[in-house]
């Protein structure tokens, strides 16, 4: 995939998170990845790797420290993608 459209990134993230999260939370851009979704850190890291491949980018770990919500993750991906 080479798309850099923020909305499409959000859609892909929500879709993937939906299948990973155990809870019945309705996932939106504002969903907090850590506190609202009961996804363990191993699954989350695997998801990040999957996303990295889907967009052909590497997400630096330091940048992830500032990410709380789906929106923030999508913005980060979009920013890295457009810089590459």
């Amino acid at each position: 995939m080479t798309n850099n459209n923020y909305n499409e990134i959000i859609e892909l993230l929500c879709d993937r998170l939906d299948s990973l999260a155990d809870s019945e939370v309705n996932i939106t851009a504002e969903t907090n990845l850590i506190s609202e979704l009961s996804i363990d850190s191993v699954k989350l890291l695997n998801l990040i790797m999957e996303i990295e491949d889907a967009f052909d980018i590497s997400i630096p770990i330091n940048a992830l420290a500032d990410v709380q919500t789906v929106h923030e993750l999508a913005s980060l991906i979009s920013k890295i993608k457009s810089a590459s």
Partner: protein, 396 residues
Amino acid sequence: MNLLEKLDAAAAARKAMLPEGVGAFGIPIEEVYSATEARIGKRRVLLLGTNNYLGLTFAPECIQAAHKALDEEGTGTTGSRMANGSYYGHRALEREFADFYDCGSGIVFTTGYQANLGTISGLVGRGDTVLIDGDSHASIFDGCILSGAEIIRFKHNDMADMEKRLRRLGDRTETTLIIVEGIYSMLGDQAPLADIVELKNKYRCTLLLDEAHSLGVLGETGQGLVEKTGLQKEVDFITGTFSKSLCSIGGFCVSNHPQLDQLRYVSHPYIFTASPSPATIASTRAALQLLREGSHLRRQLWKNCTQLYNRLAEIGYQVGPEPGPVIAAILDNPKQALQIWQRLLEKNIYVNLILPPAAPDGKSLVRCSVNAAHTTEQMTYVGDSFANLYHEILQS
């Protein structure tokens, strides 16, 4: 939640994993008898969870050298390498490390942890990139954080993933430091150094290899993975620790790049800490000599490693990808890992217990560290005990 309440919450999570009374972490060693035996509580136990790979903790040469330095130079240097803490011994040890690796220069740090912190944060900074293995030791990770460089991880020992990430870096690879370890401390597996060197050259990066667990263990004279693979000239910087096969505390970095020396002026973990005590340096110098001449110790070590690794695999335990001085039984269930750890202690065997998130992939590890002072009989006893527990705990 205030600061103290946060600590309470973390303590509660830890206690939920470990039942009351189980002191798997920070277990008190009451007396040490030898390189392989100690007293824990009332038990005389076999030590199978130390990093004493060559079994040199009581080597008379090292003890005598330490005594002499203690008598002649006192208990501590009371100062930084930068100020009053560079004695003759510190400088001699640096020359000896440089000579051992046939490198231009070497630097001694106060711990191996600081060797990584100091080397990494001295080499890279904001705007640079570090590409590190996903299973990197905390000292590597912390060094990267301290440096301010962008941290990118590749899947443990996965060269396709590493290359993918190098390619994605584009022209930033020239300011990228790749960091790998000779032997990984969780599963005891080795880095595929020849492939890593090939990629490093193809993408024109700089390579740092941490030989913490491979020093004294791999290669004819014990240099580590560089010697085993014959790639001494291809690795830019080598770090390591005195706290494992050299049986003291401290760390080092060696390199053929003369720029290494500049680290002494910019690296906070080198400057803003006191230098190792004279006795520590003296015993390390004696141990390095024994290590270089210790092919017989390496032979015994590897005999023990292979014996125990094969036995655990035969019994049916999931083990790491190859034998090494670190041999881990990998378990999915932390409760079973804890049970095995406890029952081994009841059989007078001390090993390490590693629970998530410290172990890779959410697994739990019952980890043995083998050394050259262990006997074949001891390895057989350990193997038998693991076999009994396999039936008792995993097949019940």
